[in-house]
């Protein structure tokens, strides 16, 4: 879920590992060509479309309760079903299909926002450390190490208790915790880029530091940045689900898949589909992001070498 901090490994080595093509990439290519990358992309696009078009797709308002028709069975059952609710209803009578559809919005929102926040923090720290080196690097190294020393899940839970659980708090907490891999990778790549001939040339010509970072360094790191971003997005989505599942995440009645799993637990032995469906959605989304990220890594690396 979070970065595996290997004692004794330098940050450079860790960065290297993150960006190496997955050992299966060749095999995968042999089997599918680039289909898995494509499959990942297609699933992501589909879920994205589902999130965007939720008001059109969802048959009901995901927040609309109806205590009289609570816990309806899905269509494959024989009794207590309702054509209005093809996947049944939850414990306060909300349409389950609609909640699943809207759940895509929440997961993607959490994935993207967390990634943006952590990506920004990590990139700023990493690029600064890599570009300036010296004392800046030392300070950034210290900050990264401090972050790595914290047991993320535990501290995230404590933070949620302290600030009160809400979508915003969860996004902020995850965003403030999941930047380590960004920082490590950006630092390492920036260091390499700094020593490229044309960057050196730009410096010799007296170009301003912001100019060099934006125009010369950034194009070099953007590929790796995207790869790390996919990994962290998948992490954020799984972590939110785990937090919500334990009751330390987003608040009801938000249709988050993690929270739906938490609510469905009560019925796990008797209405297992309530648990199976949001779990499957989560699984599919994370799977797709991973496939996509793996594929992206191959492409980036081919270009880079």
């Amino acid at each position: 879920m979070t970065m595996i901090s290997t004692p004794g490994k330098s940050f450079d080595e860790i960065a290297q590992e993150t960006l190496e093509p997955s050992p299966f990439s060749k095999l995968r290519k042999r089997i599918f060509g680039n289909y898995s990358f494509l499959a990942g992309l297609i699933i992501i696009m589909a879920i994205f479309a589902m999130a965007l078009l939720a008001p059109l797709i969802a048959p009901h308002n995901p927040y609309e309760t109806d205590l009289a028709s609570r816990l309806m069975n899905p269509f494959w059952h024989e009794v207590k079903t309702d054509e209005e609710h093809p996947l049944g209803t939850d414990k306060v009578g909300r349409d389950y299909l609609s909640r699943l559809v809207y759940g895509a919005q929440i997961s993607l929102l959490i994935g993207f926002s967390t990634m943006l926040i952590s990506g920004t923090i990590g990139t700023v720290l990493g690029v600064a450390a890599g570009y300036f080196g010296g004392r800046v690097d030392m300070v950034v190294n210290f900050i990264i190490n401090t972050r790595l020393a914290m047991p993320v899940f535990l501290v995230a839970m404590a933070a949620v208790v302290a600030f009160g659980a809400s979508l915003m708090v969860v996004i902020l907490v995850l965003g403030l915790f999941l930047w380590d891999r960004f920082a490590v990778v950006m630092r390492s790549i920036t260091m390499q880029a700094r020593d490229l001939d044309y960057v050196k040339a730009a410096r010799a010509m007296g170009c301003s530091t912001p100019y060099i970072i934006v125009r010369e360094i950034f194009p070099n790191v953007i590929g790796s940045l995207t790869v790390v971003a996919t990994v962290e997005m998948a992490n954020a989505i799984l972590l939110e689900a785990a937090l919500s599942f334990l009751g330390f995440g987003v608040q009801a009645p938000t249709p988050s898949w993690g929270l739906m799993l938490n609510e469905a637990r009560e019925y796990m032995f008797f209405s297992p589909w309530l648990l199976a469906l949001p779990g499957a959605c989560l699984f599919l989304l994370v799977l797709a992001i991973n496939l996509f990220g793996d594929g992206l890594r191959d492409v980036t690396l081919e270009k880079g070498r």
């Binding site: 299966f24 095999l27 401090t146 047991p151 699984f283």
Partner: protein, 305 residues
Amino acid sequence: MLAYAIKRSFAAFLILIVVSGLTFSLSHLSADPALTIAGEQASDEDIQAIRELYGFDRPIYIQYLEWAGRAMTGDFGESYHYGERVSTMIAGRIGTTMSLGVLAILFALIISIPLGVVAAMRPNSLVDRFALLVAVFGQALPTFWFALMMIIVLGVWWRWLPISGNDSWAHFVMPTIALGYYATPALMRLTRAGMIEVLGSDYIRTARAKGLSPTVVLFKHALRNAIIPVVALAAVWFGFMLGGSIVIETIFNLKGIGWLSYDALLRSDLPVVQAIVLIFASLYVVLTLAADLVNAWLDPRISVR
């Protein structure tokens, strides 16, 4: 070398100060400890008396310094809720978590090494494809969801395995699988990659040319080399799983450190939360420091850098 060691130790110490300071303020934000100690039915006088008795009315940094001073001598104070010494509580519970961690990592190794080796020897075979599937699934499967599905099927439907508690080895089977599967993809990928690299190396080619039997080459030479980084990674995962066990211990009613931290967060039992965070952080810091020093000793250039 000595100067380097001192510098690194100082940095490590500083990290612990920052981490524990952050946790301390975070947890004191979350709840009034006096209320926690007094309990549900306490009167206001009870609460005020406790506040004064424990010194919660003093500025937070003074409380932190006092706590940190005692923590350095291994005294984490008493649990607000249980009234027991925190060190005793943790000592009594760490065994369960350690057993779970060791079992889970063994499970992961037993699955990932043979699969990884066969996958490396016969790329593109059925086994290889299966290994790919296991890896891709494992990465995207929310651990807690997997655990619940196992309870439904193996525990309740088929009654093969006991569901909760830690009375016998059988009680550890499901938690071990749930937690171990989580580490499997990473370990398997590394085994496979390592094996492919080693099998292609000159040294194995020489061994083969010398006419050694393929089995001897595989087990005595190739595997031994490929497995070292896997074991190193496994050690890291072990530390990481202590964190992942929060969810698993809660689900399977294993009363280890993970459960303890969850329980402590729910009832704002601050000394317990702080101690557990500090212990995890120290574990990381000490491991990193040790590795750094060993590396520096092996390679004197590092300490100069």
